[in-house]
């Protein structure tokens, strides 16, 4: 049995430790991760660009569910660990999951500090820590005008910049007279404040917040001096505290943070801790670079290598506000014994200061020009004697080292020694980057990120990495491809391929490969299913389905499960069933020894653990009772969930079940870019949870509301209201037309939610609501396609007609006895 490792916290430090551990010894542990947040592991640092609208949440996911699956890690999202039982060696979550551990890793990060002034728990008061906070801020920016950010530190300023970019009127409130006082000295802070003011952010310095005002929601902020300013959202960014609650309760010794030694062990040697929750040699860190160093050391010990030690980190800071260059490291204020070397050019907005003691650099602040920051940090880390270049130091590396290249940025990179650290977050040196570029033949920034992790975290060293690319790769020009190729078989994007299929009227995969010069003769597992889908969606009457280009689920009309067995879901129109169907299901379960019977989220019955060879017989029995395939395996219409509607419910205003059945009968069998789910509720109480479906209908007094583009999966998205209609016939028409628009327009494997976000709700409204002719012609095309899609139920065809019989039978059965065992020649035995 493998040892069990449990990690509490699914954030940056915990998961990085696991990544490092998997590199050293992927087989050693059975790993479980629990995290409070509903999201997978993401790059917290990049929440600032998300807020500023420069990135979206999908861009900042570090490890998707797939990564956990591939590495055999069990992940519980939405679980907060509430207890560590050190005697029994187990942990318990708030959802009553108890897990045993042999070793435990605590990486609970920190909690934002909220000033307990009156009104601090009103809705609309948020911190800036996780995705939920960012979503709250984005929502506020859509509905309100005024934002107040309390705290003029790094986080507060990034929040203010983001909210301003979202169009809000932002005021930053700061207790002191210097912004980012823990990173900047007065002159630099003044330059920063001026430049932020020029961008439109307002500041209230030396202001003390007295009260947050509002009844149901914040409306204003009042200060000690009586001043009051309006606010639709208040962001508190005044500091963080290591999250030690859990560790403390378990009797693990904590001070400000959880105390760890140089091997990242707590006072209980089976329990390790990394990240913002720890305190090491008196120091707690709030940046990723040190956490990543800790992660490396911790992984080394978890893997029983036992050689690494953590001895603390020298940290540096940058502000992630596009267009503002700012850098700070070490002791930038200095004291009576240190000297300062300063360069100042207010006209250009440049300020540089180095704090020096006995010819060693102790700290640095730079504003406006930070090209040489990596070099100074390097000199500082190495405690290099700068005596001989002291007079030239401030003019930068190129100049100081007497370069003939003229001191441009590129030449500065050229002069860097191989062990100059380029990426602080991930600790990657220039030499490593250059070597990887050369060895692997890399040509883009993306590739360098993938292979070395350099600039993959906060991204502020991207320009340095690009410069290294430029000096390493001959004729490198920054041609970051704007479009994404479908797969490595072609340079064309999904959209380009779809256009070609339509315009050139291509009707087979072979034709596409030929006409569009595919690089691999059989394509691959990524493009073939997509192409097969596009062909069927555009030319349903002409195209022959390509069996071998379908994923196994669609090939055998059942869901493959982790052990290679399958699951089968019969269709239950609108979620309704009857005794005959239930009896048939019960009989099948007994007859074929099906181990698990489960209700799905879409109100259907799932039979799990069916052997592939049994599938045709299972279907035959179900078909006998009138049950047909539910397409739970396909990129297709899955279910129409309903409530009991006006047929039974005392609140119901419209017949939800009846309409649900009609919708399902019209749409079943349709192939779609991704799975497609529907629901119908009889009144606005919305018991069928319509607002997280691809297509949802809510009954109202005067008819029906149509909602589209919802998703309840990893990234929850609430539907947009498309329109209101009065009759069920109109609902059917809108449904067909919407599905057809999605079928023809979206990229393969794109759910309606991201599709609508990409093309915009306005586009969808224009196509469906504003343009009656267009809607009707989309609907006609949908029905025409259904004519082919509903030609037969795939189960019946296979169960009774013997279609694809070879799939379900072995080619041959061989037993050991058929093999004659012949003794090996003697010398080989010996």
């Amino acid at each position: 049995m493998k040892e069990k490792l449990v990690c509490i916290g699914n954030g940056m430090a915990g998961v990085r430790t696991l990544e490092e551990l998997l590199k050293l010894d992927p087989e050693k542990y059975d790993i479980t991760v629990l995290g409070t947040e509903l999201y997978g592991n993401y790059n917290r640092i990049l929440l600032s660009p998300v807020l500023a609208g420069e990135k979206n949440i999908d861009d900042i996911i570090l490890n998707s569910q797939e990564w956990y699956d591939q590495n055999g890690i069990t992940l519980y999202t939405g679980h907060t660990v509430t207890q560590i039982n050190r005697i029994k060696r187990e942990i318990t979550s708030d959802q009553d999951v108890t897990i045993k551990y042999d070793r435990l890793l605590i990486a609970t990060g920190s909690n934002p500090f909220i000033i307990p002034i009156p009104g601090h728990n009103l809705p609309g008061v948020v911190s800036f820590r996780d995705i939920t906070d960012v979503e709250a801020m984005l929502a506020a920016s859509r509905h309100g005008q005024y934002a107040v950010v309390i705290g003029g530190g790094l986080l507060g300023l990034e929040a203010a910049n983001g909210l301003m970019k979202q169009g809000m009127d932002v005021t930053v409130v700061h207790l002191l007279d210097t912004l980012m006082e823990r990173q900047l000295d007065k002159p630099a802070a003044t330059l920063l404040k001026t430049s932020l003011e020029q961008r439109g952010i307002k500041f209230l310095m030396e202001a003390q917040t007295a009260e947050i005002i509002g009844t149901e929601q914040v409306t204003a902020v009042r200060f000690k001096d009586g001043l009051e300013i309006p606010a639709n959202i208040v962001v508190m960014a005044v500091g963080i505290r290591p999250n030690t609650t859990l560790a403390k309760a378990a009797g693990i010794y904590c001070e400000r943070g959880i105390i760890v030694n140089d091997t990242m062990q707590t006072y209980d040697p089976r329990i390790y801790a990394v990240g913002e929750c720890v305190q090491h040699r008196g120091q707690a860190y709030g940046l990723v670079a040190p956490l990543y160093e800790q992660a490396k050391v911790c992984a080394n010990h978890l893997a029983d290598m036992g050689i690494a030690r953590y001895s603390g980190s020298v940290v540096s800071t940058r502000l992630k506000v596009t267009g503002i260059e700012l850098f700070s490291a070490g002791d930038f204020l200095g004291n009576g014994k240190t000297e300062e070397i300063i360069f100042q050019d207010p006209a250009q907005g440049i300020y540089k200061k180095l704090v020096v003691h006995n010819n060693y650099i102790k700290g640095a602040v730079m504003y406006g020009d930070t090209v040489d920051s990596a070099w100074y940090l390097q000199l500082m880390r190495e405690q290099a004697d700068i005596g001989h270049i002291r007079d030239k130091l401030l003019f930068g590396q190129a100049y100081a080292l007497g370069s003939a290249l003229g001191g441009t940025a590129a030449s500065a990179v050229t002069l860097m020694s191989d062990d100059t650290q380029i990426c602080g977050c991930n600790g990657v040196c220039k030499g490593t980057i250059v070597k990887t570029i050369t060895n692997e033949g890399l040509t883009t920034l993306e590739q360098v990120r993938l292979h070395t992790k350099a600039s993959a975290s906060c991204g502020s060293c991207s320009h340095l990495v690009e410069q290294i690319l430029a000096i390493t790769v001959k004729d490198y020009h920054n041609t970051a491809p704007k479009k994404k190729a479908m797969c490595h078989c072609t340079e064309l994007s999904h959209d380009e391929v779809q256009t070609a299929i339509k315009q050139q009227h291509l009707t087979s995969i072979a034709q596409i490969f030929d006409q569009l010069a595919w690089k691999n003769p059989d394509g691959c597992q990524v493009c073939r299913p997509a192409l097969n889908y596009y062909l069927l969606a555009h030319f349903p009457a002409e195209v022959k389905d390509d069996y071998q280009s379908r994923f196994i689920n669609e090939r055998v009309h059942a869901n493959i499960q982790k052990d290679g067995t399958y699951s089968v879901v019969p269709r239950m129109w609108g979620g309704l069933t009857n005794p005959q169907e239930l009896r048939a299901i019960a009989n099948v379960v007994e007859k074929f020894n099906i181990p698990t019977v489960k209700m799905t989220g879409g109100q259907r019955i799932d039979l799990l653990g069916v052997k592939k060879t049994d599938l045709p017989a299972v279907w035959a029995d179900l078909n006998q009772a009138g049950l047909v395939s539910g397409y739970a395996y396909g990129k297709a219409v899955r279910t129409v969930k309903t409530c009991v509607g006006s047929e039974w419910c005392r609140f119901g205003t419209q017949p939800a079940m009846e309409l649900g059945v009609k919708l399902e009968k019209m749409t079943w069998g349709s192939w779609t870019p991704h799975k497609f789910k529907m629901a119908v509720s009889g009144c606005p109480r919305n018991c069928a949870e319509v607002t997280i479906k691809d297509f949802g209908v809510i009954g109202v007094e005067a008819g029906w509301e149509i909602h589209v583009g919802g998703n309840g999966g990893i990234k929850v998205r609430v539907t947009d209201l498309l329109c209101k209609v009065t009759t069920p016939e109109e609902v059917l028409e809108y449904c067909g037309a919407f599905m057809q628009l999605y079928r023809e327009n979206a990229r393969y494997l794109e759910r309606t939610a991201p599709w609508i976000e990409r093309v915009g709700l306005d586009y969808v409204k224009q196509q469906l609501v504003a343009d009656n002719d267009n809607r009707q012609s989309l609907f006609r095309r949908f029905l025409e396609s259904q004519h082919f899609a509903q030609a037969e139920d795939p189960w019946i065809a296979r169960a009774l007609g013997g279609l694809d019989a070879h799939e379900f039978k072995p080619l041959k059965q061989v037993t050991t006895s058929e093999i004659k065992v012949v003794a090996l020649p003697e010398e080989e035995v010996a």
Binding site: Q525, Q548, I552, I560, H806, L811, V814, T816, V821
Partner: protein
């Protein structure tokens, strides 16, 4: 020495597809490429045991249906950046189109021992 067992006909396997030979020691997947080459591997993905016979075949590679590891049909090696290897068997197609699966002596010996 290899013992050859007759397992069926080339036409029994669809192009870019696979069929399974069941044995007492587990399933063997027999693949057929677009160019009618035939390859045989243990039907277990080295990652977490996925049934390779159910994957999509392209070139001389099959993609495991569970988590998309790519396995080289010719030698059972998982393609980089992933690692791992699944056992591969010799197969040949004779003039009549009959398929012969080869069980190496060493393999038999090993079976006998367990």
């Amino acid at each position: 020495m290899i013992q050859w067992i007759e397992i069926g006909h080339l036409q029994d396997i669809p192009r870019l597809g696979a069929r399974v030979v069941t044995t007492d020691w587990g399933n063997i997947a027999i693949f057929r490429t677009a160019g009618d080459e035939v390859w045989a591997l243990d039907d277990r993905c080295p990652h977490r045991g996925g049934p390779l016979s159910q994957g999509i075949v392209h070139g001389k590679v099959v993609t495991c249906p569970l988590h998309n590891r790519q396995i080289n049909l010719t030698d059972g090696q998982v393609l980089a950046p992933d690692k791992g290897c699944t056992h591969s068997y010799p197969v040949k197609v004779i003039e009549t189109g009959q398929l012969l699966l080869g069980i190496p002596e060493t393999y038999k010996q090993a079976l006998q021992l367990t």
